[in-house]
Symmetry: C2
Subunit: 221 residues, 2 copies
């Protein structure tokens, strides 16, 4: 069995913890990051590189997906759509990027085939999340099946989503317990030096620390 | 029901016929083409544009997928791997691009969601093909399910693959019968003004015309 895991890492808390969990299981980590003209592209890439170093990653892919801009349709890419700051609402928010994880996982499937990885990790969180349809366990299981049907290799890829059923507070506790360097991570949707504290992503993160009774090591405005 | 079909069009014979079949069914066609640093990128794009004109397309996406070069691992992208010219062999050939149709369909799924398309077409051919795993009906059905699970819209996307069970000779006959402008299409894997006639793709095309008892309107070396 291959002991290589391809870990999709955004630079955020969830995918960082997922990658550290794969390392803890003994996998050699191949790190995968995507730039898709998101507002926080530069900051996320910097975090990805620092986290990769902390993980001891030797092989990494940093892919430019410029075409996302041509698809648009999200506040995270299209600067004419405002990032909401008044609280997490019901339904699919304007920060939703159409089928982002589907595209990410398909590209990851191609790399996993090329590199002979038996595992692919993604930090999706279903329940305590922003309500994106491509963060649901049922979707991830379906695309795992698609990847295995559509690739040539004899190695079957298993998509690990160790956080899918956790609450943000549980993720915070688990990360702190495992010495995951959360000070190197970035969750905010806005492009600034300090996290805004009021976008959906900051709210979910801060609430997680709050419920866990722990304090967030990153700086807020 | 939406009457828009998003048609993935490479500039080749199969995807061209598939798009004309969608038009015949009454759909408004949105054309989608991918540049992925394939050897024949320039030629394929030229064909795509001419075919789109012939189809009367008003809305089209021409996306640059530069990251394919970073994945590599195919004779169609990596110039250090020779395109075979001695005949179609058993198994997955070196021209296979890892999970290409998986990536194409995921991106198409995002655009279909944004544009509100109820149908997405792809010109895959399973039996009489080059033996790529991501051209099989079972795979396409699986990724259709993944796209519908992972996207937000209420519209369900149906992936149409009208040629999947046809032989190349049947595709040629159908295209000629329906006045599809085959002289505008390109199938050759090599980058030249005239088709080489000896790569797998040329061989499959020429054999199709031969079995159909028809002559190919494009020029060969």
């Amino acid at each position: 069995m291959s002991k290589k895991a391809l870990c999709i890492m955004s630079g955020g808390m969830d995918s960082t913890l997922a990658a550290f969990m794969m390392k803890e299981k003994g996998y050699e980590i191949i790190a995968l990051h995507f730039n898709y003209d998101q507002l926080t592209q530069k900051k996320e890439l910097e975090c990805f590189e620092n986290i990769s170093k902390a993980l001891g990653v030797k092989n990494s892919y940093n892919l430019d997906l410029d075409f996302f801009k041509q698809i648009g349709a999200s506040a995270l890419i299209d600067e004419s759509i405002e990032v909401p700051i008044s609280g997490v609402e019901e339904g699919v928010p304007v920060t939703y990027v159409p089928f982002r994880n589907g595209i990410f996982l398909s590209i990851a499937g191609a790399i996993a085939e090329k590199e002979g990885c038996s595992v692919l990790s993604i930090g999706v969180v279903e329940e305590d999340s922003s309500g994106y349809p491509d963060c649901r366990e049922e979707f991830i299981n379906s695309i795992e099946n698609s990847i295995n049907l559509g690739t040539a290799t004899e190695i079957k890829v298993k998509i690990e989503m160790p956080l899918v059923n956790l609450k943000k507070s549980e993720i915070v506790k688990e990360a702190i317990k495992s010495n995951v360097p959360l000070h190197l991570t970035w969750s905010c949707y806005k492009n600034s030096n300090k996290a805004c504290g009021v976008c959906d992503s900051c709210r979910l993160r801060l609430n997680g620390f709050n419920v866990a009774g722990l304090s967030d090591p990153i700086e807020y405005v």
